[in-house]
C-alpha cells in the first residue's frame, strides 16, 4: 500500500504529470502527421532521456506510444491518409463518415474506442506482467539465450515483405552489434584499429538514423506535392450514450483481441486493427454498410490498435522481447540509459515498473481529456508544410545525436544508418528486426557464454532445458508458418509496416 501511495505521489507530482501530458500531446501530434509514427516520436526524445531519467523517460514514452495510436486516426478520418500504419483500417469507414460531414463524430468515436482499448490493455499489462516476470525470474542463461533467439526469429519472420529479408535484417543487426569489445574475452572485434569503434557503434545514433532520419529521406518522394486539405468542421465530437451502448459490444472484444495480439512479439497495431475490423464486419448484421461510414468500422480498429499498446509492453517489460516496432525502440531507449528490461526489472527497479503502470493507465485518461478539449486543434498539424516540418525534424535529430556524446562520429553513424534505414524500409526489409539484432546481439552472446561456462563448454546443455526447447520450437514454428504464409500468397504484401 505504501508503495502504491509513493507511486501515485510520484506520477501525480506536478512536474511528472506535466511530462506525461506533454508526452501524450506529442504522441497525438506525431501520430496525426502522415509519415511519422510513435516510434519516430520516441526516437526524437531519446537524446533527452539521460536528463529525464528512466522513470520520467518511460512516462513520456508511454504517453507518446498511446497518444500516437489515437493521433493516427485524425489523418485517416480527415484526409484518408493514415497518420500511422496502425490507423490504416480506420480510413475505410472514417473517411466516408467525414465526407458525409460527420468528421467530428468519427474522431469522437475513434477517441472513445482508443481510450477504452487503452484502459483495458493497461489493466491487462498491470495484471499479467508481474505473473510472467515471476516465471521468467527462474530462467537461467540457456533459457535466456533461447528466448532471445525466439524474439529475434519471430520478429524477423512476421515483419518485412519476406521471411528471408526479415532474417537478413536481423542478422545484419547482429553483425552491427558484434562491432566492439567482446564481453567475454575483451578482444576488440571489427574495430579496424580505430579506438572509437572499440566500444561498438553507439546505439542512439543507430536508432535515430533507422527510425527518424530515414523517414526524412523517404519523404523526399513526396517533395513538392501539395498538402492534402480538409474542409470539414469538427463538431459533435462526443458520442451519445445510446451510440456508445451500441458500440461497446464491438469495442470490448476488439480491445481484448488487441491485447492478445500485442502480447505476441512482432505483431502490433496494424495487424490487430485489420483483424478487429474484419471480425466486426463478419459479426455485423449489416456487413454491406462497412466501408460506407459505419461507426463500428472506426470503433473496432481503434479499440484494437490501442489495445495492443499495453499488450506489447508485457513481453518487453518481463522478457526483454519487444511486442512491436515502438516497443523495440523503447527497449533500445531503456538499454541506452542502462536499464535492462526483463524480470529483474521488477525486483531491482520496482519504482520504475510501478510508475510505468500508473502512468500508462493515466495516459489513456489524459488522451481522452486532451482529445475532447482540443479536438479542433490537432487537425491543424496536418496543415504544417512538410518543407518546414521535415528540416526541423532533421535538425532536431542531428543536434540530439550530437548532444548525446558530443561526438561528430555519432553524426556520421546517424547519417549512415539514416541511409541504410531508408533502403531497409523502401525494399521490404525489416527495421524492427535490424534494431532488435543490434540490441539483442551482445546480450544473446553474453547469455550464450554464461550458459556454456556453467555447462563446462557442453553445447548440448542448451537443448536440455524444456523451456529452452519450447522457445527453440516456437522459433522454428514461426519460421515454418511464415514460409507457409508466403508460399500461399501469390503476391507477398507487408504484414507489419515499418513505422
Amino acid at each position: 500500500m505504501d508503495a502504491l501511495i509513493q507511486v501515485l505521489a510520484y506520477v501525480f507530482s506536478p512536474v511528472h504529470f506535466l511530462f506525461l501530458v506533454c508526452g501524450t500531446a506529442a504522441g497525438i501530434v506525431v501520430g496525426a502527421i502522415p509519415g511519422l509514427s510513435g516510434s519516430t516520436g520516441i526516437v526524437l526524445i531519446l537524446p533527452f532521456l539521460p536528463a529525464l531519467g528512466p522513470t520520467v523517460g518511460l512516462l513520456v514514452m508511454s504517453g507518446i506510444f498511446c497518444g500516437s495510436m489515437f493521433g493516427g486516426s485524425i489523418a485517416s478520418i480527415l484526409i484518408a491518409t493514415p497518420g500511422t500504419p496502425s490507423a490504416a483500417a480506420t480510413v475505410l469507414d472514417g473517411y466516408p463518415m467525414a465526407q458525409r460531414g460527420e468528421a467530428g463524430r468519427a474522431i469522437g468515436i475513434a477517441l472513445i474506442a482508443s481510450t477504452i482499448g487503452g484502459i483495458i490493455s493497461s489493466l491487462c499489462m498491470i495484471f499479467i506482467s508481474p505473473q510472467l516476470a515471476t516465471i521468467a525470474l527462474q530462467f537461467g542463461p540457456d533459457e535466456y539465450f533461447a528466448l532471445m533467439v525466439f524474439g529475434l526469429t519471430v520478429i524477423a519472420s512476421v515483419t518485412g515483405t519476406s521471411l528471408v529479408k526479415g532474417l537478413m535484417s536481423g542478422f545484419f543487426g547482429l553483425l552491427v552489434g558484434l562491432i566492439g569489445l567482446d564481453e567475454v574475452s575483451g578482444y576488440a572485434r571489427y574495430s579496424f584499429g580505430f579506438p572509437i569503434l572499440m566500444s561498438g557503434l553507439p546505439l542512439l545514433p543507430v536508432l535515430i538514423g533507422v527510425f527518424a532520419i530515414s523517414h526524412v529521406f523517404s519523404e523526399l518522394e513526396n517533395a513538392g506535392k501539395a498538402l492534402k486539405r480538409f474542409d470539414q468542421k469538427i463538431t459533435g465530437v462526443l458520442p451519445t450514450w445510446r451510440e456508445l451502448k451500441q458500440l461497446l459490444p464491438v469495442i470490448l472484444p476488439s480491445s481484448v483481441l488487441g491485447v492478445i495480439l500485442g502480447i505476441i512479439p512482432g505483431t502490433g497495431g496494424s495487424i490487430a486493427s485489420f483483424m478487429a475490423y474484419n471480425e466486426a464486419k463478419r459479426f455485423s448484421k449489416d456487413p454491406d454498410s462497412f466501408g460506407k461510414g459505419n461507426p463500428v468500422g472506426i470503433a473496432a480498429p481503434e479499440a484494437a490498435n490501442n489495445g495492443t499498446t499495453g499488450g506489447a509492453m508485457v513481453p518487453m517489460l518481463t522478457l526483454g522481447i519487444p511486442g512491436d516496432v515502438v516497443t523495440a525502440v523503447m527497449l533500445g531507449a531503456l538499454v541506452l540509459i542502462g536499464v535492462r528490461p526483463g524480470p529483474l526489472l521488477f525486483t531491482q527497479h520496482p519504482e520504475i515498473v510501478n510508475s510505468l503502470f500508473v502512468g500508462f493507465l493515466m495516459a489513456q485518461f489524459i488522451m481522452l481529456g486532451l482529445g475532447l478539449a482540443t479536438v479542433r486543434i490537432w487537425p491543424r498539424v496536418l496543415l504544417v508544410p512538410t518543407q518546414v516540418l521535415l528540416p526541423l525534424i532533421l535538425a532536431l535529430c542531428l543536434i540530439g545525436t550530437f548532444s548525446s556524446g558530443n561526438s561528430i562520429f555519432d553524426l556520421f553513424v546517424a547519417l549512415a544508418f539514416g541511409v541504410i534505414g531508408f533502403f531497409v524500409n523502401k525494399y521490404g526489409f525489416s527495421p524492427a528486426a535490424l534494431i532488435l539484432g543490434v540490441i539483442l546481439g551482445p546480450l544473446a552472446e553474453r547469455e550464450l557464454g554464461a550458459a556454456l561456462i556453467i555447462a563446462h563448454g557442453d553445447w548440448a546443455q542448451l537443448f536440455r532445458s524444456p523451456l529452452a526447447l519450447v522457445f527453440f520450437g516456437i522459433s522454428l514454428l514461426s519460421v515454418a508458418y511464415s514460409m507457409l504464409r508466403l508460399s500461399r500468397a501469390k503476391k507477398p504484401k507487408s504484414v507489419l509496416p515499418s513505422g
Binding site: E221, A223, I399
Partner: protein, 157 residues
Amino acid sequence: MGASDIVFSAILLLLSVLFFALTFSFPKLTIALSPVVFPRFVTACLFIFSSILMVQGIRKRMADRTKEEPEKRVRGRLDRPFTVRFLLLAADVLLYVWLLEPIGYVIATPLCIAGVMLIFGDRRWYRIAPVAVLSTVVLYAFFRGVFRVPLPRSFIW
C-alpha cells in the same frame, strides 16, 4: 524488385564474406565461448540468407523478362529527380557534419536547414530565412540553455 534484391544480396554477401574472413585474425582462446564463434555463426547465416535472396532475385528477374512486363520491372526503382534530391540531402547533411566543428553550430545549422528546405522544394526566401534562423535559436536555447549541451562554437558565437 528482382534487381534490387540482387544488388542488396550481393552487398550483404560481400559483407558476410569479409567479416567471416576477418574472424581468422581473432585470437583463438580456449574459453567456453571463443570470440570467433558468434561472429562466424552470424556471418554464415547472413551469407546463406543473402544467397537465397540472390537466387530469388535472379529467378524473379528472369521470370519478369520472359513475361515481358516492363512496367513491373520499373516498379520499386528510384526515379531520377528523387535520386538527385536524395543525393543532395545526403550531401547537405554530410557537409553539415563536416563543418559543424570548424564553423560552429550557429552558422552551420541555419545553412543546413535552409538547404534541406530548398531540397524539399521550398523556394520562398521569406519563409526559409525565418524558419532557419528561428529554429536554430530555439534549438540552441533548448540544448544549451536547458540541457547544458556544449554545442560547437564559431568565431562569432
